[in-house]
């Protein structure tokens, strides 16, 4: 939006100064520390679980599609009644069939999650073993608000979405970068230590993050009969 | 092992204000069989001018230094910061000086005292006895420029009857910093007081270090605060033996070697 003539001038001036500046080479001091930065993650699922335990992410393992449904329903029943914002996908529509009538569902296809939503349910792009993180995206996971507005965020994932480390997670992010206006790595719940350096869970974002991990491959949910 | 002839580099303020530091270092070096010489044309390594930003002046003093020690086989110095000046900062300071090459070569054969004993002479037991509780302050240039940390501790642990205790926050700066101590006394003083409080908390009777400049500052603070602990240079502990009188600190009673 560099519309004004003055503004266009600023771009040329600044870039011009930068170009001229970097012509003079600067020294580069190397110390020789070039070993592997992180140890290889040998068991990503196990590592994912232990990291999540440390960063306050709840992980629920479900053996198959049936157990995924059970786990999700049980979780939602344990939360106070309220609006549930759900990413609009066939899988999540099937998973949330038959929920208690008290809980009203708002689909992501209808817009952003309202301020009052209590729970948000979405997919993820990947789960990261190294840090116990969840990779989400705007297009792929129900929008930007899905993972930040509601005080509880539930991610329905499968074990084959687990990647070992940040290198792999960012490679995935690179693949989807131009197809999404937002890609985010979420590690644990919202938190702050701004008051006396005391860690408090639940600042502006969710105070609870739950990842339901379906272990089996194959169709995620049994066919509707 | 046969040790090379050691040329003594005695920092300007040690020579003038705290000579006991050098005397005790000489005692220990002689005890382990070193032959010593002391070029009297030496004055200063130039660090005060360098730190103050007066690099032209510092360089001229540094060139004099390089000339004085040109013929030495090996130089030993009772100060981490002065040794660091020569080894770590002369290369940049004298980059465009005709003495640049010599300075780089000198940097390879100059050692701080504890570094010399342990790494060069391979000695950790110098036959010392010091029946007191002692703690150790990691002075900044020694720690971060020369990477000397293990050596003083190895030497102290070999001292008979010593009760060595680690200092809390031992790596935190004591607040001397050369001219900083008088340009910003309102910061330097409190930094020293924090260090003094940590020293008191160990219950030690002595705090030692490899930098007499830090010790001079700490000594001033400890005496002002009237603490139990006294500051003493490392070699003064290592020089102490069963029969010798206990030196109080590096500067007050000047004992002939």
């Amino acid at each position: 939006m560099q519309s004004g003539k003055e503004d266009r001038g600023a771009r040329e001036e600044i870039l011009g100064r930068v170009r001229a500046a970097v012509r003079a080479p600067a020294p580069r001091q190397q110390s020789g520390s070039v070993g592997p930065i992180f140890a290889t993650v040998t068991d990503p699922l196990e590592r994912f679980q232990s990291e999540c335990a440390a960063n306050h992410t709840d992980v629920v393992l479900a053996a198959n599609g049936d157990e995924t449904v059970t786990a999700l329903h049980r979780l939602l029943a344990s939360l106070p009644p309220g609006e549930i914002f759900v990413q609009d996908t066939p899988e999540l529509r099937r998973l949330t069939l038959g929920l208690d009538a008290r809980q009203s569902i708002l689909w992501s296809s209808g817009g952003p999650p309202p301020e009052s939503s209590q729970v948000a349910i979405s997919h993820c792009e990947a789960l990261v073993g190294q840090t116990g993180s969840v990779l989400v995206s705007s297009h792929g996971c129900g929008g930007r608000g899905a993972s930040i507005v509601a005080p509880c965020h539930v991610i329905v994932a499968s074990a084959d979405q687990i990647v070992p480390d940040l290198e792999a997670a960012l490679a995935r992010a690179r693949q989807i970068a131009f197809g999404n206006s937002f890609v985010g790595l979420i590690t644990g719940c919202s938190r702050t230590s701004d008051i006396e350096k005391r860690l408090i869970i639940g600042a502006h974002g969710p105070r609870r993050v739950v990842v339901i991990v379906r272990l089996s491959s194959g169709p995620s949910v049994p066919e509707i009969t | 092992m046969t040790l090379p002839r050691i040329t003594l580099f005695i920092p300007c303020f040690v020579d003038q204000v705290t000579p006991q530091v050098a005397v005790d270092m000489v005692t220990v070096l002689r005890r382990i069989g070193c032959e010593l010489d002391y070029p009297e044309e030496q004055t200063c390594c130039g660090q005060p001018a360098y730190n103050a930003g007066f690099w032209k002046e510092a360089a001229s003093v540094a060139e004099h230094f390089v000339r004085v020690f040109a013929k030495s086989d090996m130089v030993v110095c009772p100060s981490g910061s002065c040794t660091a000046m020569v080894r770590c900062f002369y290369p940049e300071l004298l980059a465009s000086s005709p003495y640049c090459e010599e300075a780089l070569a000198l940097g390879k054969r100059i050692f701080e005292f504890s570094e010399f004993l342990v790494d060069v002479a391979g000695i950790t037991d110098v036959g010392a006895t010091f029946p007191y509780k002692v703690t150790y302050h990691d002075s900044c240039h020694l720690l971060r420029e020369l990477h000397v940390q293990r050596q003083p501790r190895e030497l102290l642990r070999q001292v008979k009857e010593i009760d060595f205790v680690e200092l809390g926050y031992s790596e935190e700066c004591c607040g001397f910093g050369g001219v900083f101590s008088v340009k910003f006394p309102e910061i330097s003083g409190p930094m020293g007081e924090v260090k003094a409080t940590n020293i008191e908390a160990t219950g030690a009777s002595f705090v030692t270090a490899c930098d007499p400049s830090c010790l001079m500052h700490l000594d001033g603070i400890l005496r002002r605060m009237r603490t139990k602990a006294k500051a003493i240079y490392l070699a003064s502990i290592l020089a102490a033996q069963e029969t010798a009188a206990v030196p109080s600190n590096g500067s007050a009673d000047v004992v002939e070697p």
């Binding site: 600044i14 290198e167 937002f182 230590s193 | 204000v17 004055t43 007066f54």
Partner: protein, 467 residues
């Protein structure tokens, strides 16, 4: 000594002897140190991480033209706007015009040192806009109408009781209690209303990713996420030096920044924004603007010796490591950037003569250099700044003269001995007259003077050698 320097001395004096302040800061830093030690242990080789981060930033800064160009192309391709701002005024004007054009009333802001630098809030507020800081620490100091104390933990200097009292006064309707949890809850309630009604969100950016045209923002609270999902317009402001070549570089930059900054393995919300909402997305801003700020950075860039200062990723580790910072606190600096990076950057960027005292207010302990995750030799920059101040003749003439005299004396052992004998004699005389303490006040204010020895080492050596 100029006024700024005088004020620094005064504030330093007040804070350095303030025991309560010292305790608070010590506790905060101890907590930080414990966390960082744990954090570093998560790396197989933390030094290799530092080396790699330094390498990435070196590459970025030394090819800044290429990566800025690539970044801009990608942002524009994705529907975003890029504005190049030469200085503070230029950047503020752009934001203001944008806000006025879109009839913005409320702005929510996530923490950004650059917006402090250009004093954006003051400018917007002067023009009738309501700007809410949403990072809890920034929110607190905003309510107190004071500048942030520390670039990562802005309210480090305040106790829970002080914050409770502040909230009771400013947001009484949201306060339910005084525990840490309840105070955080009060801020959440109050700011949530602003998140959901603000028309514009302003953020900084930790990194500008050239190969994908995305900005990277990290936060733990989630406030930056809310600032970039609800409001219609998102403006991101960043210094030109924030550019990095590739998205993949974040695999090491993100965990190292988190470790150095807070001891975490990675910040809770590590976010990438690549433009306004795309077709088919159900939320997100309609407009996305990135302001690339120069404001003196290209000048630093042009000096090969100082260029690596632009590698800084604003982690705050050097502040926490600095014994001077621990004693005088963040406000004493009276500059946007404090601690070692502030003392290194501010003189060349804002005035070598005017801000020289910052480079002298250091014992050169080097702790900052040893902790910097991008391996900037900060302590050395301070000495180089001092050299530069001397080179432009901005040290007082008595100091210049005595340095020349000192050097002249040091070039000959005879002169050295004479000068020292004079000095020692003078000291003895002053001592005898009881005048040493008052005249040498800079030393004696806090310390006893060392006693003057009977003989110098060289005298003793001479005597011994002749014996």
């Amino acid at each position: 000594m100029n006024r700024i320097a005088q004020e620094f001395h005064q504030k330093a004096r007040e804070k350095a002897s303030d025991q309560a302040h010292r305790q608070t800061i010590r506790r905060a830093i101890d907590t930080y140190e414990t966390a960082v030690t744990k954090g570093r242990a998560r790396f197989a080789d933390y030094e290799a991480a530092r080396e790699r981060c330094a390498e990435i930033k070196w590459e970025a800064v030394n090819h800044l033209d290429r990566y800025l160009d690539q970044f801009e192309t990608n942002v524009v391709q994705r529907g975003g706007h890029v504005f190049w701002a030469s200085d503070s005024e230029h950047a503020c004007r752009y934001v203001l015009e944008l806000a006025l054009r879109h009839r913005v009333k409320t702005i929510v802001k996530s923490k950004s040192m650059v917006t402090e630098e250009i004093q954006l809030n003051a400018d917007l507020e002067r023009n009738g806009l309501r700007v809410m800081e949403t990072d809890l620490g920034e929110y607190i100091v905003q309510l107190r109408q004071e500048p942030p104390y520390h670039i990562v933990t802005p309210a480090m200097h305040l106790s829970r009781e002080q914050i409770a009292e502040l909230f009771r006064e400013k947001i009484p309707g949201d306060v339910t209690g005084e525990t840490h949890e309840e105070l955080v809850g009060a801020a959440r309630r109050s700011l949530r209303r602003d998140f959901f009604s603000a028309e514009m969100g302003i953020t900084g950016a930790n990194f500008l990713v050239a190969d994908t045209g995305m900005i990277a923002i990290t936060s733990n609270e989630g406030n930056a996420r809310l600032c970039t999902s609800r409001p219609r317009i998102h403006v991101a402001i960043a210094g030109i030096e924030k550019v990095i070549p590739r998205l993949q570089d974040l695999a090491v930059l993100w965990p190292t920044l988190a470790t150095a900054g807070t001891g975490q393995s990675i910040t809770a919300y590590s976010t990438l924004i690549g433009g306004p909402r795309m077709a088919g997305e159900n939320d997100g801003p309609e407009e996305f603007h990135v302001i690339l700020l120069d404001n003196g950075r290209s000048r630093l860039l042009a000096d090969p010796e100082q260029r690596d200062l632009l590698q800084c990723i604003r982690c705050g580790a050097c502040l926490n490591a600095c014994p001077v910072y621990r004693n005088v606190g963040g406000h004493a600096y009276a500059t946007v950037y404090q601690g070692p990076i502030g003392s290194a950057l501010t003189p060349p960027m804002r005035g070598l003569a005017e801000f020289q005292h910052l480079s002298y207010a250091s014992s050169l302990c080097g702790n900052c250099t040893s902790v910097c995750p991008v391996k900037i030799d900060l302590a050395h920059h301070l000495v180089q700044n001092r050299r530069n101040v001397v080179a432009i003749g901005e040290r007082p003439w008595p100091e210049r003269t005595s340095m020349r005299l000192w050097a002249w004396c040091m070039l000959s052992a005879e002169r050295f001995k004479l000068a020292s004998r004079l000095g020692r004699t003078m000291l003895r005389v002053l001592n005898a007259m009881g005048l040493a303490a008052p005249i040498l006040k800079s030393w004696t204010e806090h310390r006893q003077l060392p006693p003057v020895p009977k003989s110098t080492f060289r005298q003793m050596w001479r005597n011994n050698a002749e014996r």
